[in-house]
């Protein structure tokens, strides 16, 4: 359902959802039918690590980092997509979950460049993951970054195949369908149609794929270039949310500013108009004030 506000009288509302009582890490809690284990954990302040989960998209169920234990279940379950059930007993932190998360991080870390993935270093330490333990000759997805346009860069050496860009470009948001998956097995990779260069594809440069990419594999050129120059410094950046100057839709823009220059534009995921999405003008059309 949409996010038509429910506070006002006479406002259309979604049908009511049944209450569900469950236990998470020993605490009994009440959720709503249809809630996921992850959303309940987050509302309780329990920090379950996720990589492929984006809060504006349907769960991709790809990375398996958010696995938790459900009493009575034979295997661990992905908390991002598993819906709560009455009397469920969930454990988010156990030897089994830690072991599973360590494996996921080691396998991803050994094959993918996670250097720009937020929080991953801390998780490696927390779960004792050692991606180097498979030796130096492991298969990786290392490859040069694709710089084929002036707006954003595709660095698939950092891609964990979470499919979020495919979903955002496809039917969940943009409906441009420029991005898909090519190849099979270890060779499976994100590609634009027939592995074409971006300017030869259907891409409209909205950058809504960048917005959902969890690892920095998709990155605005401004950020990519500044990182390459060693000048990208989040600690010196401010974030200010304002309204896009183009057209009358009213998309909120969060301007990431470093040294009085706009270095990146995003939109808040919880904004009712955009759900984190923008068009090419909103995301890249800021240079007239630089």
């Amino acid at each position: 359902m949409s996010d038509v506000r429910t506070s006002a009288p006479g406002t259309p509302v979604a049908p009511p959802r049944r209450k569900v009582t469950l236990t998470v890490d020993g605490t009994e809690t009440v959720a709503r039918e249809g809630d996921t284990i992850l959303s309940v954990c987050r509302s309780l302040g329990i920090d379950v690590p996720t990589l492929c989960y984006g809060d504006t998209l349907e769960p991709a169920n790809a990375c398996r980092l958010c696995m938790v234990e459900v009493e009575g279940a034979r295997v661990l379950v992905p908390s991002c997509s598993r819906e709560v059930e009455p009397d469920m007993n969930v454990t988010t932190d156990s030897a089994r979950t830690r072991h599973a998360r360590r494996m996921v991080l080691e396998l991803l870390g050994s094959s993918v460049d996670l250097s720009t993935t937020p929080r991953v270093e801390a998780w490696m330490a927390e779960f004792g993951a050692d991606p180097t333990r498979f030796g130096a000759d492991v298969a990786t997805v290392a490859q040069p970054a694709k710089v084929d346009n002036n707006l954003y860069v595709r660095d698939y050496a950092k891609c964990i195949l979470c499919y979020q860009c495919v979903d955002a470009c496809g039917e969940q948001f943009q409906n441009t369908f420029a991005i898909s998956v090519a190849g099979r097995g270890f060779d499976a990779r994100i590609a634009v149609e027939f592995d074409a260069a971006l300017p030869d594809s259907a891409c409209v440069y909205c950058g809504n794929c960048i917005a959902v990419c969890p690892t920095g594999a998709l990155m605005p050129s401004t950020e990519f270039d500044m990182r390459a120059d060693g000048t990208w410094d989040v600690s010196r950046q401010s974030e200010t949310t304002t309204v896009c100057p183009y057209c009358g839709v009213g998309c909120n823009l969060t301007l990431h500013v470093q040294d009085n220059r706009i270095v990146k534009v995003t939109s808040p995921n919880d904004h009712s108009i955009t759900s984190g999405n923008l068009c090419v003008k909103g995301r890249f059309g800021f240079t007239h004030v630089q």
């Binding site: 949409s2 006002a8 100057p245």
Partner: protein, 551 residues
């Protein structure tokens, strides 16, 4: 705005974007939202994935039309003919909402008589839309449980722009598709504060809070707040200002954030008028073409990222704009400039923050009273009307029309028995093609802002033609052509575009320095809105270079 005021007494779109997601039938009329309002179109796409149907009425088979269940490709400037045929078919099929029509509208019998001549067959002849397609559109819209009708400049940039809007609103009140959840009418605004500018009174006939300048009581209220006496007469809209310049009555002009030297029709005529003024002041971010003509240029900060304030979007949502970067040295906030100017003229205006100015507006506009900065912050933007500081109203307007008690329904919504008129700039043997103008995805207006960034989408400005028309003129992709209208001529490369129907030529408005389409466009305008006939110019296309250059 005039159309909505006439019908409903309020100048905003009646629905919210989130409602679009939950509606059953969406009609986008003269709107290429996929390119001009891409994030609004995301809400439309959500609806389509839910199973809603989309009808797109547009002379061009735009990227928006490609998502439609049915594209209704009509001849330019025949919107009223089509709308009337839809209205007639609704009535003839007994699909009008007779209870709503009886309870909440007036002028139905006159309207019925007005649309009676518009049979599907006659409409097909005038609009070029097959009768069967009009019938399908009609039945889809009229039988939907909920329906949204949206429009943009394809409706308003005609000499009958106001009547076009009224003809569409007729359909919404005929079917009861207004004033209810998920049903409504929605004009999509082209600029981030078109709605807000009007709401604040930045129109020649409006006061802050969208009160009428000629409303004595509203004026008296503001006179008390401001300790002044507001002249009891309407000002001039842009088109009448140029007419007054021509008559030498208007001798000094202060332009804030506009580029009329390039955005106005018949631009070859506009520049001498601006040059002939005694005094021209331009306040802008850039030294635009208009600013280059000015006696005084006041450098302004960018309202969206270098200063504080609010803007109002197409769903009546007021949102905060915030300062993120320092403006270049010497550039000042609009409020600063206007206040300093008033002080220099001897007025006793205090220096004020954007919030203080907003609070003053709240004090004179009950519909904005509840929108304190704190409330805006907490709610992430608020839609008007918002009379209370701690509560939001329903997200759609005019629920009153459905009230059980007649006394609660307020003023009935009037049908408008408007007449179809063809575009003023008629086609003839000398000017046999119809030029229409519009936007492209990655650009904006005259390119003052969007010209600063380039995208791989930018294929250069072109004269877009139907391939058959091009063949008839022995033209191939890239050939240089001269496009002439009754006002002037411009030259550019031709682009073959199968999405254009035969007889139709398209150019964007974005690059006046390269391809100044407004040289061609007539300044003829709707007398009520002052909006010019940008969408319907009669032109001729000829080869510009003597030798074919098949590039």
């Amino acid at each position: 705005m005039i159309g909505l005021i006439t019908a409903f007494g309020a100048s905003g779109g009646t629905s919210s974007y989130a409602e679009v997601e939950n509606t059953d039938v969406i009609v986008l009329w003269g709107s290429n939202a996929r390119e001009a309002h891409p994030i609004f179109f995301h809400h439309v796409l959500k609806a389509l994935h839910r199973g809603a149907r989309l009808y797109v009425v547009d002379p061009r088979r735009t990227p928006t039309a490609r998502f439609a269940d049915r594209w209704i490709g009509l001849n330019v400037g025949t919107d009223i003919a089509l709308a009337h045929a839809v209205g007639r078919e609704i009535i003839a099929s007994g699909l009008h909402h007779s209870e709503f029509v009886a309870n909440a509208t007036q002028g139905f019998e006159e309207y019925r008589a007005c649309v009676e001549p518009w049979t599907l067959e006659r409409a097909e002849q005038v609009t070029g839309v097959p009768a069967e397609a009009i019938r399908e559109l009609t039945h889809a819209y009229a039988t939907a449980a909920h329906a949204q009708l949206g429009w943009t400049l394809g409706i308003t940039e005609h000499i009958t722009g106001v009547d076009n809007v009224l003809a569409l609103i007729n359909l919404s009140i005929l079917t009861g598709h207004v004033g209810r959840p998920y049903s409504g009418v929605q004009p999509l605004r082209g600029q981030n504060n078109v709605q807000g500018g009007g709401d604040m009174g930045a129109l020649p006939n409006r006061l802050p809070g969208f009160r009428d300048v000629e409303d004595t009581e509203a004026r008296a209220r503001l006179d008390r707040v401001w300790g002044t006496s507001i002249p009891p007469r309407n000002g001039m809209h842009l088109t009448s200002m140029f007419e007054a310049m021509e008559r030498k009555e208007l001798r000094a002009v202060y332009v804030v954030g506009e580029n009329p030297a390039q955005s106005e029709p018949n631009s070859g005529h506009v520049v001498p008028l601006l040059e002939g003024l005694d005094h021209l002041v331009v306040q802008d971010l850039f030294l635009t073409r208009t600013a280059q003509l000015a006696d005084v240029v006041l450098p302004a900060s960018a309202a969206w990222c270098e200063s504080e304030g609010t803007v109002t979007n197409s769903e009546r949502r007021v949102q905060r704009v915030r300062k993120a970067v320092e403006p270049p040295s010497g550039a000042r906030d609009d409020i600063d400039i206007i206040t300093a100017l008033a002080q220099a003229l001897g007025a006793d205006w205090p220096d004020q923050t954007a919030q203080q100015v907003w609070d003053e507006l709240r004090s004179v506009s009950p519909d904005h009273f509840g929108m304190t900065y704190e409330h805006l912050e907490a709610a992430g933007g608020l839609q008007w009307p918002c009379p209370s500081t701690d509560r939001e109203e329903v997200p759609y307007l005019h629920a009153r029309l459905w009230a059980a008690e007649p006394a609660d329904r307020g003023r009935p919504a009037p049908f408008s028995s408007v007449e179809w008129k063809p575009p003023l700039d008629a086609l003839d043997a000398d000017f046999p093609l119809r030029l229409t103008t519009g936007r492209r995805l990655d650009s904006y207006n005259t390119g003052v802002q969007s010209g600063a960034f380039s995208t791989p989408l930018d294929a250069g400005e072109t004269v877009d033609m139907n391939p058959d028309d091009a063949s008839a003129h022995a033209l191939a992709e890239g050939d240089r052509v001269r496009v002439s209208s009754r006002r002037g001529s411009i030259e550019g490369p031709v682009h073959l575009d199968p999405s254009l129907r035969p007889g139709l030529v398209f150019m964007s408005i974005h690059a006046p320095d390269v391809l100044d389409v407004n040289v061609l466009v007539s300044e003829a305008s709707d007398p009520r809105s002052g909006v010019a006939e940008f969408k319907a110019t009669a032109v001729r296309v000829e080869r510009a270079d003597p030798v074919p250059s098949h590039t």
